[in-house]
Symmetry: C2
Subunit: 196 residues, 2 copies
């Protein structure tokens, strides 16, 4: 008897993600959300109960659609340094395909805009950064050319994570992917020089 729903909670979160990502949390009103997602207020509130819950639901969607394709290969097998080089290549490709200057990284944006005043969002951000860190750490572990001591490896992985987030931030204010590629190349050159 009921009408067939035109959306699923997942597809709603996906549409909302695009909006929050480009517009930020505060600047994205419910009116905009309704218009851009094509789902009525009623639909949004029955699916998620509020704006913030919908926002939180965007994090796993972002991970699935954006982070995983770029990051997952890093934890694969093979040369560790090559895996990290590949990561930054895919990162710039991703930024490029989104368009430059672009919205940067959804999570990095959240970490400065929302996380400081919201523990739940801060937790999502911390989780994301930890994922990056462990991925880089396992890649460094596989790197054959050097045997880094464990604490140093962890610190190095964090440094790579910090730079990765910085590169996303830079992608918001440049219109040339070549610039990003150059930044990444410089950093990777430093890294490679040290490991070999």
């Amino acid at each position: 008897m009921p009408r067939k729903p035109s959306h699923t909670p997942e597809s709603l979160a996906d549409s909302a993600l695009a909006q929050f990502w480009y517009g930020g949390y505060e600047a994205t009103s419910m009116d905009i959300l309704v218009k851009k997602t094509g789902v009525s207020r009623h639909g949004i509130y029955t699916d998620y109960g509020g704006k913030k819950a919908l926002y939180l639901a965007c994090f796993p969607r972002y991970h699935q659609h954006v982070v995983s394709p770029v990051l997952d290969p890093v934890t694969g097998s093979g040369d560790g340094m090559a895996a990290i080089v590949g990561y930054f290549g895919r990162l710039v490709e991703m930024a490029e395909s989104i368009g430059l200057p672009g919205p940067g990284c959804f999570v990095v944006n959240a970490s400065t805009e929302v996380a400081p005043h919201d523990p739940e969002v801060a937790a999502k951000v911390a989780e994301h950064n930890a994922r990056l860190e462990t991925a880089f750490s396992t890649a460094l572990q596989r790197e054959q050319s050097t045997r880094l001591p464990m604490p140093h490896r962890k610190a190095l992985a964090r440094t790579i994570m910090i730079f990765s987030n910085g590169l996303w931030t830079a992608s918001r204010s440049t219109d040339k992917s070549e610039t990003l590629r150059e930044h990444a190349a410089v950093f990777l050159d430093l890294l490679e020089y040290r490991l070999k």
Copy 2:
């Protein structure tokens, strides 16, 4: 005949800076501003005309109070690499003295929270980043151990700037200055290894 004013536009901007820095632009209401600065709404509006103008006035104050003491020595004379090492040492000291986890860098925060939707703020951010970049570039120029080609030097200076901004971001989610020092040391180690 008039009452002696209890504040100057500069001291008002200084107090406002502290609030915007810790609380962000959106989350800092005029009520909070009035309470924390000790200046009445009337005083704020006659001095600056509105919230955003006051916010913009905070940028030069931030530069004077925070950026200059940390950055200016970089453009001095002497060994270039040592100047950059000194910069990161002072950066971490500054973050430490503010308290950890802290509010990060006022300008980096502005770049993700406000700049995307406000050209005037974006210009202030770009100006700040350019200042960092040229400072690092002149330091690299003074570095005696290597003769970097000019384009590479500029790219390297930008990479250092990106990492510096990333480190400030990291200072918002860690409570140990030792962690920051470690991140900086790892990065500087990479840099030094490459230049020598």
